[in-house]
Amino acid sequence: MKISTRVKFQPLIAALRAEPLTDRVPDELSGSYISDLLSDVLAHAKPGTLWLTIQTHRNVVSVAATKDIAAVLFTCGRKPGGEVIAEAEEEGIALLTTPLTTYEAAGTLWETGFR
């Protein structure tokens, strides 16, 4: 995960067949991190990144806010509850969901040249 260039998010959303759950999504991303362990994300995720996870409870938003993560992509079609979405709106963190598995989503991102 050594990405310094910023990448436009919109084309990635289309490639991932992702559905935004929050009103706003960031224009750009600085990289990505994949983990379902919150402490692992707290240890390794960089600010401004896209976080892929299957966890959907509200601590995902707390962790994302703690690390200034730009957007969270829930894989395997998972969706958090309305409370979690409302909290993400308030924290300014974008939430999206994709029907792809984490592996497929990562592969898709990689193929678009997002590295």
Binding site: D36, L37, L38, S39, D40, L42, A43, P47, T53, Q55, H57, R58, N59, V60, S62, V63, A65, T66, K67, D68, G81, G82, E83, V84, I85, A86, E87, E89, E90
Partner: protein, 320 residues
């Protein structure tokens, strides 16, 4: 009132360049803390005249129209005036109500609610919960009333807390010190991150280097989840000074059997539920250590665990 339990105090001992308690409150308090509930509503089959009488009786200027807790529309005093003027006051509400009503969520902070009032110039907003159920109505008056009430309580708490600290000789009258403190309950995974969130806000408002802010937030978050997962309950305090942040987590037990072992990455004693939620990876204490400039942990089975982490604030570039 706060998602991580009732804060004991937010103490602010400086007079200059401080964040006012009211400023902190509008971020902390939620729409659901201030809204009028249960909402006074009318049914779509009621007549406009019935709504007019309801407004008069309850001294309100707008009524959400609902089917149970399902919001369908809104009738405002302007709608009533128009009905009287045009002579259709005995029509049913459903023929004339505003259907695309702008709402607030009960979780929104008051600062966001105030922004919505400024943007839309409405006198009131119906409030929905996370499941789209109508749970209340918010007016500007509700916000003012709620702030006044909390300011008064907060002022009393701050004075009492400061007096207690002075008695212990803890207060050094350091300028710009802010203390954020919260009770943490065992197993309360839904509330994790309360102190961390408030601390981040203070650090952001002060323009502290984002990397330092993130390190402090990681320490506070991990320390808080440790209490939730492993202890019988405790308290977490973040003391924010101009030159450092000090995070203290104190619990009532049962204590860490072997601190050295617990500091090793991957070592965990967490049960199944926290692990399914993504906690308990055995990285909490190692994360805290990595993010701290100075860390001490004392633990025994009589007094529980006391963790103290310091993060130094040095002058840095502009925040990103």
């Amino acid at each position: 009132m706060h998602r991580a339990g009732a804060p004991l105090s937010d103490v602010n001992t400086s007079d200059a360049r401080r964040i006012s308690v009211a400023q902190v409150l509008v971020y902390e308090l939620r729409v659901r803390d201030a809204m009028s509930k249960p909402p006074i509503t009318a049914a779509p089959t009621d007549t406009l005249r019935a709504v007019q009488n309801l407004m008069k009786a309850r001294r309100i200027s707008g009524v959400p129209i609902s089917d149970g807790d399902n919001l369908l529309g809104l009738i405002s005093i302007e709608d009533i005036i128009r009905a009287l003027d045009k002579g259709y006051i005995d029509d049913r509400v459903q023929q004339h109500m505003t259907r695309n009503v702008i709402t607030l969520r009960d979780r929104f902070s008051l600062v966001r609610a105030v922004a919505e009032f400024d943007r839309h110039e409405f006198g009131r907003f119906p409030v929905l919960d996370g499941n789209d159920r109508l749970v209340g109505v918010l007016t500007r008056g509700d916000i003012t009333g709620c702030l006044m009430q909390h300011l008064e309580r907060r002022a009393e708490e701050a004075l009492a807390h400061e007096a207690a600290l002075r008695a212990e000789g803890v207060v050094d009258d350091a300028a710009d010190r802010i203390v954020v403190r919260t009770h943490v309950r065992t197993g309360d995974y839904d509330s994790a991150g309360g102190v961390s969130q408030r601390m981040r806000q203070v650090l952001r408002d002060r323009g502290i280097d984002p990397e330092i802010r993130r390190r402090a937030a990681v320490v506070a978050y991990e320390a808080e989840t440790n209490i939730i997962i492993h202890s019988l309950g405790g308290e977490i305090t973040a003391t924010i000074d101009p030159d450092k942040v000090c995070i203290e987590a104190v619990d009532v037990g049962p204590g860490i059997e072997n601190v050295e072992q617990a500091m090793q990455e991957g070592w965990t004693t967490a049960g199944r539920l926290p692990r399914e939620l993504g906690f308990g990876a055995g990285m909490g204490l190692p994360n805290i250590k990595r993010c701290s400039d100075n860390l001490t942990i004392t633990s025994d089975n009589k007094h529980g665990t006391h963790l103290r982490s310091e993060i130094y604030i040095h002058k840095a570039g502009a925040p990103t």
